[in-house]
Amino acid sequence: MENQDNVLEVRNLEINFDTFAGTVKAIRNVSFDLKKGETLAIVGESGSGKSVTTRAIMGLLARNAKVANGTIEYQDRDLLQLSERDMEQIRGVDIAEIFQDPMTSLDPTMKIGRQIAEPLMIHKNMKKDQAEAEALKMMKLVGITNAEDRINDYPHQFSGGMRQRIVIAIALINYPDILIADEPTTALDVTIQAQILHLMKELQTKINTSIIFITHDLGVVAGMADRVAVMYAGQIVEYGTVDEIFYDPKHPYTWGLLNSMPTLDTKENTLPSIPGTPPDLLEPPVGDAFAARNQYALKIDTQKQPPFFKVSDTHSAATWLLDPRAPKVTPPATILERQKKYAAMHEKAVAEAKRAEQEQHRSGEEEG
């Protein structure tokens, strides 16, 4: 590990898929860290490679996927080098996953108590009764009402929200270090979404786990995440803290994403969208993959891939617009507003920090 705060370090990950049409370069040089106890959101549209990344961490890549390069380091071991048996010891114990669709991710013919208890029976060698007693506790923890009566029910007897709670219970039963949540609320009603997100936040503090939160919905990210990585066409194009991504985005793709998110301030009747579709990853375009859809595209975008330009210690973006040689462009009006808000927030924060410092200073003087 490069950094003691990190539980997981992904470096230069490249994953290809062999298909009938050719090799799809699904993940192209992705690196990121996951810090202890934090929630990292990976945001991007369908096909950007979010899910493939998490599958790689879980060691559950499809059969036609090939890891071409990179390392995934966890507890000083490279997960990509582990045998299937070793990986089985990690899955469901240290790293667990919550899936997207609770309606299909539970075994329809197995009682839910048994399904929740299974990870304990496999990994902790618990007997069924003991494991189900633990399962019952976990069911209560994730907020399943009448847990005692329902432990022997089958999945079809539960609503979508309840089923997702069951899936969460399965994932958390072994108190994993890392929880991967792959669009856990996409298939749910908005009100249920909020409950599930709230539950996850709450459990994170109780269980002290790090979360990788995959979503295409920036609205969900704001309340959930500590840091955000934006993915496009198999690459991370920008990462930073939630505030940096939301209020001071640098990459035109992030601008587009934020612009197409409805907010309370949205006045127009239409919601702007990013024109075009993501590039075909059978033959990724030369240069910046986003160039074709980017209204701020520079000539160099079509020739050379942009490197990461550092904005702050925590914030970087891969766009040529940050190069000193690039012309000054004006981001869309809404982004400017966001940046203004951010500046104000920042000033306020700085002022508060100063005041706090002064107060501390004063109190220190008084004590002294």
């Binding site: 074709a292 595209a297 000539k299 160099i300 975008d301 020739q303 040689r325 690039a326 462009v329």
Partner: protein, 343 residues
């Protein structure tokens, strides 16, 4: 990759002009758009076993139906002096295909023994009455394929119409029609077929009618289920709201959407119809002598199987080949028309 990227020059930091950007987007070639049928055909073409089966079936069709022209001998002409000749193919020396027969421990030239004129060949040999087996197998194939075609026809007419009406009408009509099917299906179809043949007197026509009257039930059930689903879809609702007549809706909206179910199921009716005909003829209540059918040929061949195995092998192989090809082709069609069924 880095090699073919030109070192950027300073002016490349200029914004890309609008018209060029258009081009950038245009360059992304989207996959060519295909209609559903084109797409299915493309998938079918990739399926080797299905394509080979289709070709074999086409060849068999052409041979069987043009057999009046290519038949080297009359399938019903008897010549007792030429009885039980083994297969002899011009220019082939493999035992079994060179007109020789094992008698005791020695191979003898059966053709010379029988005094056949040199230059006369029976490529599959002759049967116990001296009839040319090849011509008879071709004739039998023709009967099998005819029955297949007729069964398909009734599947498509009775089965599809019954299913569509049942599904479309719903309610009591549907209930009654389904009960009727359940009753028909609660007797094994071979039993029904035999009862019908008994009433109609054995023969080609009654076999066809009997098979036709029992083969459509599966189709009707599948079409009904699909129609029930389609009936409530928006485009059908829209057509109904606009006052289109049910007949028009059936032809314009339902049939095209039912086509894959229909095509796939047809491909499974055919082998079962062929099987029933062969079985009936085999047990002696189907096509009767002197007419040839693959079933009667098998029955004849089985009697002498220990001594003249070729008389059983040829019809057995041809019958199995037809069945295998229809099944493989049917599988291919299902995979092609229903991509969900394959990964």
């Amino acid at each position: 990759m880095a090699d073919n990227i030109k070192q950027p020059v300073d002016d490349s930091f200029e914004p890309v002009p609008l018209n060029e950007k258009q081009k950038l987007d245009d360059e992304k070639i989207a996959a060519p758009s295909l209609t559903f049928t084109q797409d299915a055909w493309r998938r079918l073409k990739r399926n080797k076993s299905a394509m080979i089966s289709m070709i074999i079936l086409l060849v068999l069709f052409v041979m069987a139906f043009s057999s009046s022209f290519i038949e080297p001998h009359d399938p019903n002409a008897q010549d007792p002096s030429y009885a039980n000749l083994p297969a002899k193919i011009p220019g082939v020396g493999i035992p079994g295909f060179n007109g020789t027969l094992k008698q005791g421990d020695v191979r003898v030239d059966a053709y010379a023994q029988a005094g056949v004129k040199p230059g006369t060949y029976y490529v599959m040999g002759t049967d116990y009455l001296g009839r040319d087996l090849f011509s008879r197998v071709l004739y039998g194939t023709r009967i099998s394929l005819t029955i297949a075609l007729v069964a398909t026809f009734f599947d498509l007419t009775i089965g599809v119409a019954y299913g569509m009406i049942s599904g479309w009408k719903g309610g009591r009509v549907d209930n009654l029609m389904q009960r009727i099917i359940e009753i028909i299906m609660s007797i094994p179809s071979l039993v029904v077929i035999i009862l019908l043949i008994l009433i109609l007197k054995p023969g080609m026509a009654s076999i066809i009618i009997a098979i036709a009257l029992t083969s459509w039930t599966n189709m009707a059930r599948l079409v009904r289920a699909e129609t029930l689903e389609l009936k409530n879809q928006e485009f059908v609702l829209a057509a109904r709201t606009l006052g289109e007549s049910p007949i028009k809706i059936a032809f314009k909206h339902l049939l095209p959407n039912l086509s894959s179910v229909i095509i796939i199921n047809t491909m499974f009716t055919i082998p079962s119809a062929i099987f029933f005909e062969a079985l009936l003829s085999y047990i002696g209540i189907g096509i009767s002598s002197p007419q040839a059918s693959l079933g009667t040929l098998l029955n004849d061949g089985q009697k002498n199987f220990q001594f003249l195995p070729y008389q059983m092998w040829f019809p057995a192989v041809v019958l199995s080949l037809i069945m295998i090809c229809f099944n493989l082709f049917g599988d291919g069609l299902r995979d092609a028309f229903d991509p969900r069924s394959k990964e």
